[in-house]
């Protein structure tokens, strides 16, 4: 029994938090939007802090649910991300009459991600994946009076259901050829006959949709642009990180025997993803679309890291995801604050931001530097590690192209920095009130970027964790 509580403590705590939110909402007597946000953010803080307390290793229900120190660490990272998104969403939710529902839905997607990460069985993985996507579609459509937002929700749910169907077809053939849905059993029986290769290709396609890997990326920019900014931030950071981590464990442990097949897949898609993301990011004027394409390019770099498949790869990817989480949340956070206060979302509107809002401008600059991988920010080390991981296979031409793209990407990230610091406009953005909660979140993000970049012990910790599992 205590075993049960220890292994499932993240999930049980989060479920409890969701139930608390529901009860609070039911007992509501006309509470205002901002006091809701504060209350619910406290619950998310409890969720994050509670997750840190216990570490246990083992499995439940015949290996259907697995847990260990590495998974606990990953869940803590995701909980922290949810807390940051919750804090950053405060200005957006101030005037929204469904702020409690927003938090309930977003917390339930996190629950789905937890189960997906811990899954040792295809069914639990699938249910967790759907729980992590379906409420997000509802959240993307949360600006109820804007057609754009509904379109984003419709596109998200239809394209994710389409990809799930391919994933399921693949899983059905895995079941047919292996006779089991347990990850361990599948790993033992996968032999690489043609039908299994097909099944794997279908599963890979399903993941490619969810991770918006080129050529399955077409929904991403539209959804990010139409969805409310906190939701776009959550989609691009937290849900992407969770799916990436599961993708790694599916590739390395379940389909480890098919490495000869997935290496070329990853190589080609990584190349396409990096180049397409960069080319399109250059042409965007809307900050949300810009961040969407830049996050597509970042996924390409993550794939490069996964490609390495050596002992260090998983730790490297996890380290990069952590940096990416802080950097991208900071960028989305600043964009969200500006959008909530002024409604401006074009990069051209950011001209002269440094003069009126120096703190926001500096925050965005650090975040963009880190995303671009400008030394000595954390993003530089993250990308460097990813490239070295990919280079361990010896395809230096590919690594060269990826490195070249990293340099090209600096151009468009710095374009925004240039606009903020060196250009002026006739209608500059006025002084924007930050508010306490978003300020804390942004400060945490910046601290995260700086600490993880400057202190080596951070990477050491992650590295040791991944080595032992």
């Amino acid at each position: 029994m205590t075993d049960f509580l220890h292994l499932l403590h993240h999930e049980l705590l989060l479920s409890l938090v969701i139930v608390c939110m529901l009860i609070l909402k039911l007992a509501d007597r006309g509470r205002s939007g901002s006091s809701w946000s504060n209350l619910l953010n406290v619950l998310l803080l409890i969720n994050f802090a509670g997750g840190l307390l216990i570490e246990a290793e083992g499995s439940l229900f015949d290996g259907m649910f697995r847990s260990n120190a590495l998974l606990h660490f990953e869940k803590n990272v995701l909980s922290l991300g949810l807390l940051l998104v919750g804090l950053l969403a405060t200005p957006y939710l101030r005037n929204h009459k469904h702020s409690a529902e927003f938090h309930i839905l977003i917390a339930s997607t996190l629950l789905g991600m937890f189960f997906m990460l811990s899954a040792g069985h295809m069914l639990l993985f699938y249910v967790g994946l759907e729980l992590a996507t379906i409420p997000l579609a509802a959240l993307a459509a949360f600006n109820l009076n804007r057609g754009e937002s509904s379109e984003a929700g419709a596109k998200l749910i239809l394209s994710s259901a389409f990809s799930s169907a391919f994933l399921l077809l693949g899983i059905s053939f895995v079941y047919g050829t292996c006779g089991s849905l347990q990850f361990e059993q599948i790993a033992l029986t996968v032999s690489g006959n043609p039908l299994q290769l097909l099944a794997f290709t279908l599963v890979f396609t399903g993941f490619a949709f969810k991770l918006s890997i080129v050529p399955f990326h077409f929904w991403t920019a539209d959804v990010y642009q139409g969805a409310p900014i906190p939701v776009a931030a959550y989609l691009s950071v937290i849900s992407k990180a969770a799916v990436t981590l599961v993708f790694i464990s599916v590739l390395y442990s379940v389909f480890g025997a098919l490495q000869a097949t997935w290496t070329p897949y990853l190589l080609i898609t990584a190349l396409l993803t990096i180049i397409t993301g960069n080319l399109f990011a250059m042409r965007q004027d809307n900050i949300k679309r810009f961040l969407a394409f830049s996050s597509i390019a970042q996924v390409g770099f993550i794939l490069t890291g996964i490609l390495g498949a050596n002992v260090d790869s998983e730790g490297i990817v996890l380290y990069f995801l952590l940096i990416y989480l802080f950097s991208n949340l900071a960028a989305f956070g600043v964009a969200g604050l500006i959008s909530a206060a002024t409604g401006k979302e074009s990069i051209l509107d950011y001209r002269g931001l440094h003069a009126s809002n120096p703190r926001l401008a500096w925050t965005l600059t650090i975040a963009l530097f880190s995303l671009a991988g400008v030394p000595p920010t954390a993003g530089f080390f993250g990308k460097l590690f990813l490239l070295t991981s990919g280079a361990s296979l010896g395809n230096y031409l590919f690594i060269g192209i990826a490195a070249l793209n990293m340099v090209v990407s600096m151009y468009y990230y710095l374009r925004i920095v240039k606009a903020m610091f060196m250009e002026t406009t006739a209608q500059p953005i006025g002084k924007i009130p930050t508010g306490v909660a978003p300020a804390i979140a942004l400060a945490l993000c910046i601290a995260g970027i700086l600490v993880s970049g400057l202190s080596g012990s951070f990477y050491e910790h992650i590295h040791l964790l991944t080595l032992s599992y």
Binding site: Y126, A137, A138, A141, G147, E148, S150, A154, G226
Partner: protein, 104 residues
């Protein structure tokens, strides 16, 4: 009843899946796209049940998976339809092509 060969069932489900894919790719009406999706999910269900019955009848995992797919498909369809109705309310169309406020 084992007179029905497994491969024939698999051919049926494959054809049904790709009929659904065809519908999803060619339709521009969001509700019609949703119908294509339902066909795809149903064909996967047929696969699971056929594999379970023919190859691994000693357990019923495949049948269990089917039940879960049905439940999740229902939730998915409900959310999709709620979003489509709200889209219609704000823009008076439910056409993926006319949705040109978002373009590449």
């Amino acid at each position: 009843m084992t007179a029905i060969p497994l491969t024939h069932i698999l051919v049926l489900s494959t054809l049904l899946f790709f009929i659904g894919v065809f519908g999803f790719l060619t339709r521009r009406n969001l509700i019609a796209m949703l119908m294509g999706l339902e066909l795809m999910l149903n064909s996967v269900n047929i696969n699971f049940i056929a594999f379970n019955k023919y190859l691994y009848p000693e357990q019923i995992e495949g049948l269990g998976f089917t039940i879960f797919i049905v439940a999740i498909a229902a939730a998915e369809a409900a959310v999709a339809i709620a979003i489509i109705i709200n889209l219609f309310r704000t823009t008076h169309h439910i056409d993926a092509e006319q949705a040109d406020s978002l373009k590449y």
